[in-house]
């Protein structure tokens, strides 16, 4: 049974705390949507959960190598074709890329160099990578940017299927996604500079 838990999590960006006191408890089939204005720390929180940076405080519990991270950048190489890009990540993560291009409506573009894909098509290729990683927890940073309405619906279907298979998703998004998801508003967890927001963590520093 897959489970992702974070307790009393605080994350920092450039040495400054941006969020603190975040508790997350997700099990198979759960989705969590992160909301907050620009600079609220959505990306930083996702990068911390993905393991790219250590938390400033608190703990994250997840099975090893279970998280697939999709950032703002699509990690698509312009001189490789769509199929080559996907096949590379499938081999790196040890997954299979069979049928994935079709699920993201990219089958017709498989042989085209990624440089000649539109922004939305490239985005879809970047998201298709999630499916080839074979990892159960998806950490998604604004996945719907530059997607048209049809593609958003299609991606929501993929997400729903992923959750239905016992996956977990954490999504930072401004768009309303048609998903049964909990919402975490990061404004409530904003770290207050110069003010001791949480006495317990203050004592921790001296304890």
């Amino acid at each position: 049974m897959i489970r992702l838990r974070a307790r009393d999590l605080a994350v920092s960006r450039g040495g400054l705390r941006v969020i603190e006191g975040v508790d997350v408890d997700l099990s198979a089939g759960d989705a969590l949507i992160l909301q907050g204005p620009n600079g609220a720390g959505k990306t930083t929180l996702l990068r911390t959960i993905a393991g790219l940076q250590p938390p400033a405080a608190g703990t994250i519990e997840a099975p090893e190598e279970s998280i697939a991270y999709a950032a703002h950048a699509d990690a698509v190489k312009p001189t490789l074709t769509a199929a080559e890009n996907l096949a590379f990540w499938a081999r790196v993560f040890g997954g299979s890329d069979r049928g994935v291009l079709a699920r993201f409506d990219l089958a017709d573009l498989a042989g085209r160099p990624a440089a000649r894909l539109s922004a939305g098509q490239r985005r879809r290729l970047g998201l298709a990578r999630l499916a080839v990683t074979g990892r159960p927890i998806w950490a998604l940073d604004e996945p719907t940017v530059s997607l048209d309405r049809g593609s958003v619906a299609r991606f929501t279907d993929v997400l729903r299927a992923h959750l239905g298979q016992g996956g977990i998703a954490i999504i930072a998004s401004h768009l309303e996604l048609d998903l049964p998801a909990r919402v975490l508003d990061l404004r409530a967890h904003r770290a207050a500079p110069g003010r001791v927001a949480r006495p317990s963590s203050f004592n921790e520093a001296f304890g």
Binding site: A50, L52, A73, A75, T79, L80, E84, F88, W89
Partner: protein, 218 residues
Amino acid sequence: MRALLLRDLRLAIRAGGGFGLGLCFFLILTVLVPFGIGPARAGLAAVAPGILWVGALLACLLSLDRIFALDHEDGSLDLLATSPLPLEGVVAIKALAHWLTTGLPLVVAAPVFGLLLQLPFAAMPWLVLSLLLGTPALSVLGAFGAALTVGLRRGGLLMSALVLPLYIPTLIFGAEITRRGAEGAPVAAPVALIAGITLASAALIPFAAAAALRVNLR
């Protein structure tokens, strides 16, 4: 690991990948030096080992910042860091790919460039051997410099300043092998030293570079 190596080689060879950049630079240098110094055999042959090695070193430096910068810009490096591949392995593979696309072509083409600089025939095998043993160290040490400066805009200049001092021992011993080879003097000592530098940096640098990458990804 193999997938990453093949991808990096493919990226280098496709349009705009920078393959041949180092070779071209090397060619320009060896064509221009005789015009600058004069074509007299004695003068050229005396400086040829040093010029060839400095050329190889600068040609290598030219393409170093591509090792990680492009992958960092498009987000691939984040994904490689969260992938099942160990980051140390990623560094080693990317340094190997850099050597295969930059160092190895120089090794193969070096005798031709040696001819342009009037390098004696007796020194040719030693030139090739010294480059074969020394250029892998240039790629690995360069990967460390690239890892240190990966997030910086215009980090290339800082990287060159950081990496050049590390290149100096390789340069000294590499040029020394070629010079001694030309004179017929014994070469065992510089060969052993340059091989030692390459082996030690290949064994240790991936760990240092991976640590630098982890800090830069935060």
